[in-house]
Symmetry: C2
Subunit: 326 residues, 2 copies
């Protein structure tokens, strides 16, 4: 009986694949390096091989899989099952990914963008279980997001909703890489946190990382800042707390605008920074958000870590299998 | 046959009632002053009388009405049909308004908050007809909002979604009346526009309204500023254009976050200010919003004016009649 689901999380560096049951519990998982494929066929072969390896580890053939979901970066036409473009993969324009994978494994396939899939994973089987509405922020190079309302992903008019990194927090503030001014992402992503830290050091603030910043600023990561903060470095701690403050401002906008039941934060930085991010974030929400918009709201870290993408992709496949998956 | 709908727009100053057909076309309408009722029974009697007068003008008995919707200010428990509290009406706490009106007219009744009802009116029968998703901003004393996604009003976890006046545009900016800092409302509501104008005059900027501002600042309204701007007063025009700029920043956040198909603006100020608001607003969106979030998006003024509330209330009644209306 086809009772399991497969999720693929396609990244520029790795392909993560998992087999999960219909509650989102992971049966087997496998991560394969993308390497340096030169053609779109080579990328597809990598996807097929990683999927077959995961099934082999689960001791299953594809006929045990009810449906397969693919979390993918780039611009998608979800209805058509096509990746319109993606920066990190070769020759990856107008790829009919859904149809290719469907043919190979002869099961229903759905595509979802990677941020939405990760949000769906947390909603279905992680931090957001049993909520009706959840908004997730992913802190990385930038800040991505996913929006779940009334048990459904909200994609937006042109499949581009959830750019929560690009809500404005200061209309005359920092320049954002997207061209806008004052986006949340320009203050509170992992990369922006590093940038603010390096700026502070270069402007003369003292820190244990002073020499490191002056000699090799390009080596500083949010992970290093988290580690130094935990060792007691004041500037590192202050920088992370400021990130928490900015995130809190963004969360106030989210609560006032959409009044979700839950806000979830994910990304490598949450593990290292923990309460140094969450405490100031919650303080801002307490101080600034209107009563009803924050009543009984839960704000929490994600639970699935790097598995959220393939778990969520599998969950999206479950949701549509039997309906619009082809 | 019960083929028409009735909408009531309950305000502190007036009760507006309309009979509409199932496409939202107005058959008859009537506005009655609230006066100074002293008890909740007196308020209810005013509501009944205004409704009966509207039906009389339409030449109908209540048995021609399929369902009745009430747009009401204050905090609601929509599922229970109860107004939890409303500042401008006497003894208006935990009023089982739905049940009272249902009993009086013996037809299904629904409650909706006034900002949502007005948004639904524009979506159903006004500027937003034939869109799938629409977000409306109402510029008045404050800035209210309503959110329609996939043909449904989004109420939020605690029925408090759509506080679009309280998305942040400057986290270290102006104090907002809500307690938050830097809300859109603190810059771009009709009242905030007046406040910025008066501030500019008091700081020495010259305008035709100089004497008026110095002698009777409390008399300045956004209407007067609009009129002077149209007569060529530079500071008046600049103040309105700045309002348009701030609204544009708010719209950028709306587009990035939710990617709706349409954004609608309403409120008295849009009539007076017109393109002085809309041109700078669209310019900011063009310059600052990411490509896909603004692709094919429509940004427009509302069409129903002061009728949107009762039309939308009637439309909400149509949507739920036969399902959950009681």
């Amino acid at each position: 009986m086809a009772e399991y689901l497969t999720g693929i999380d396609l990244g520029g560096t790795n392909i993560k694949v998992g087999v999960v049951d219909q509650t989102g519990r992971i049966i087997s998982k496998h991560s394969a390096p993308m390497g340096k494929p030169r053609t779109r066929e080579e990328v597809l072969e990598k996807i097929y091989a990683a999927t077959e390896e995961t099934l082999r580890r689960a001791g299953m053939k594809a006929d045990r899989i009810k449906a397969l979901g693919i979390a993918t970066p780039g611009t998608l036409d979800i209805a058509a099952g096509v990746v319109v473009s993606a920066a990190n993969l070769p020759d990856w324009e107008n790829v009919a990914l859904r149809e290719s994978v469907r043919k190979r494994f002869d099961i229903p396939v759905v595509l979802e963008n990677d941020a939405n899939a990760a949000a769906w994973g947390e909603y279905w089987a992680g931090a957001g279980k049993e909520t009706s509405s959840m908004i997730m922020l992913t802190l990385g190079t930038g800040i991505g997001g996913g929006i779940i309302l009334d048990g459904k992903l909200w994609h937006g008019f042109k499949d581009s909703a959830g750019e929560i990194g690009h809500v404005v927090i200061d209309y005359h503030g920092r320049q954002c890489a997207c061209g806008n001014i004052g986006c949340l992402e320009a203050y509170a992503s992992a990369d922006s946190t590093v940038r603010r830290f390096v700026e502070a050091v270069k402007s003369g603030k003292s820190t244990n990382l002073e020499r490191h910043v002056h000699e090799h600023p390009e080596e500083i990561t949010s992970k290093i800042i988290c580690e130094e903060a935990l060792k007691g470095d004041v500037l590192s701690r202050k920088t992370l707390e400021e990130t928490g403050f900015y995130l809190g401002v963004g969360v106030v906008t989210i609560l006032h605008f959409m009044n979700p039941e839950m806000v979830v934060l994910t990304g490598g930085m949450i593990i290292g920074a923990g309460s140094m991010l969450m405490d100031p974030l919650k303080r801002v929400v307490e101080e600034r958000a209107m009563g009803r918009s924050r009543e009984d709201v839960r704000i929490a870290f994600a639970r699935l870590g790097g598995d959220a993408g393939f778990v969520g992709a599998a969950g999206c496949a479950l949701t549509v299998s039997g309906t619009s998956a082809s």
